[in-house]
């Protein structure tokens, strides 16, 4: 993987595509299974398909499909999807310093693609490159690659996935998708390492809490731990 900045705005887009491609390859089975889940439910195929480009988030897509299939009230579905996606606000805080001098149009465009994978690759790159245009090209390469791969995988799942999903090892892929980004992020400094360890411990402790609240709580505890211990 190459994430070396300073190669110019034109090649930065290609670098973003190249850096995101192996990640997309590993995430495609997850998108496939989400599409297959929609196909196997009472949710119309068009709705399952539309969830990928519009929602662009695995956990929220799954929650919405499950709740639609179960006949939950629309307001409850929207509120639950928002709760599950609350962590995305924090990713906005990560990227906001790097986008301060960008236009509002760029901020709105780029915000649409804020997920773990884009932030994990874009934030370190932006911290190392002084050229905002180059970073924007790099982020666009990341975002477009992930979005296209995700939509394609979900569409394949909706169309052909009901049988094939049984043989895709979804659980280990999900774990590894986060491990692959957690370790480099935790290696940044001592505070980051302690934030990661505290958040992981809290996530296991609060795993029983409903609709992602345990996850959000664990993230907040991790951030607090990082701030507390990095001050010492």
């Amino acid at each position: 993987m190459s994430t070396t900045p300073g190669t110019g705005a034109r090649s930065a887009f290609r670098t973003g595509v190249r850096d995101m491609t192996p990640v997309v390859a590993m995430l495609m089975p997850i998108g496939f299974v989400i599409g297959a889940t929609a196909a196997g439910s009472h949710v119309p195929p068009l709705v399952g398909l539309a969830s990928a480009p519009l929602i662009f988030g695995a956990s929220a897509q799954l929650v919405i499909i499950h709740m639609l299939d179960g006949g939950a009230a629309p307001a409850l579905i929207v509120a639950t999807a928002a709760l599950v996606s609350a962590r995305l606000m924090l990713y906005g805080a990560v990227m906001a310093p790097h986008w301060q001098k960008s236009s509002l149009r760029w901020k709105l465009f780029a915000s649409s693609f804020l997920v773990e994978q884009t932030v994990a690759l874009a934030a370190p790159y932006a911290a190392r490159t002084p050229d905002a245009a180059e970073h924007r090209k790099y982020y666009t390469g990341l975002a477009v690659t992930l979005w296209c791969g995700w939509v394609a995988a979900t569409a394949a799942g909706v169309l052909i996935g009901t049988r094939a999903s049984a043989v895709v090892p979804i659980d280990p892929l999900r774990v590894l998708a986060f491990v692959a980004f957690a370790v480099p992020a935790a290696r940044a400094n001592t505070g980051a390492c302690r934030a990661a360890l505290a958040a992981a411990a809290a996530a296991l402790l609060f795993a029983g809490l409903p609709q992602g609240t345990g996850l959000l709580l664990a993230g907040v505890i991790g951030v607090a731990a990082g701030m507390t211990w990095s001050e010492r």
């Binding site: 850096d19 192996p22 990640v23 119309p44 068009l46 539309a50 519009l54 929602i55 919405i64 639609l68 629309p74 929207v78 928002a82 996606s85 995305l88 606000m89 924090l90 990713y91 906005g92 805080a93 990560v94 990227m95 906001a96 310093p97 509002l104 915000s111 649409s112 994990a120 090892p169 892929l173 999900r174 774990v175 590894l176 998708a177 986060f178 491990v179 692959a180 980004f181 957690a182 370790v183 992020a185 935790a186 290696r187 505070g191 980051a192 934030a195 990661a196 958040a199 992981a200 809290a202 996530a203 795993a207 996850l215 664990a218 993230g219 505890i221 991790g222 990082g226 701030m227 990095s230």
Partner: protein, 102 residues
């Protein structure tokens, strides 16, 4: 309210959440505390998501085979400093565990 309308409404709310802090801090510098906190968001959330994925959806204790996969993935990431190797090593470990029924 149709199912498609629910998806569109959810997407609108999620988009608002994604863009709110980016736009809110668009023209003025981030408060020092927020800037410092934001540097810990990524390691904290990624680790929380990884640890949370070890526990079955219905709750309970972490799945032992997933814990082994995660440990192998962490070791591969530490050793090779690459995004791809944790997947390769972790899936190999999972395949081995499936074959041996450990």
């Amino acid at each position: 309210m149709s199912a498609l309308a629910v998806v569109v409404a959810s997407a609108a709310v999620i988009f608002f959440m994604r863009s709110s802090l980016v736009v809110a801090f668009g023209a003025r510098p981030l408060p020092a505390g927020v800037r410092r906190a934001s540097s810990f968001v990524l390691p904290a959330m990624m680790s929380a998501l990884a640890a949370g994925a070890l526990v079955p959806a219905q709750g309970g204790r972490p799945d032992a085979s997933l814990v082994i996969v995660a440990v192998v993935g962490v070791l591969a990431s530490l050793r090779f400093r690459s995004i791809a190797w944790p997947f390769v090593a972790g899936l190999a470990a999972y395949g081995l565990l499936s074959v041996t029924h450990l």
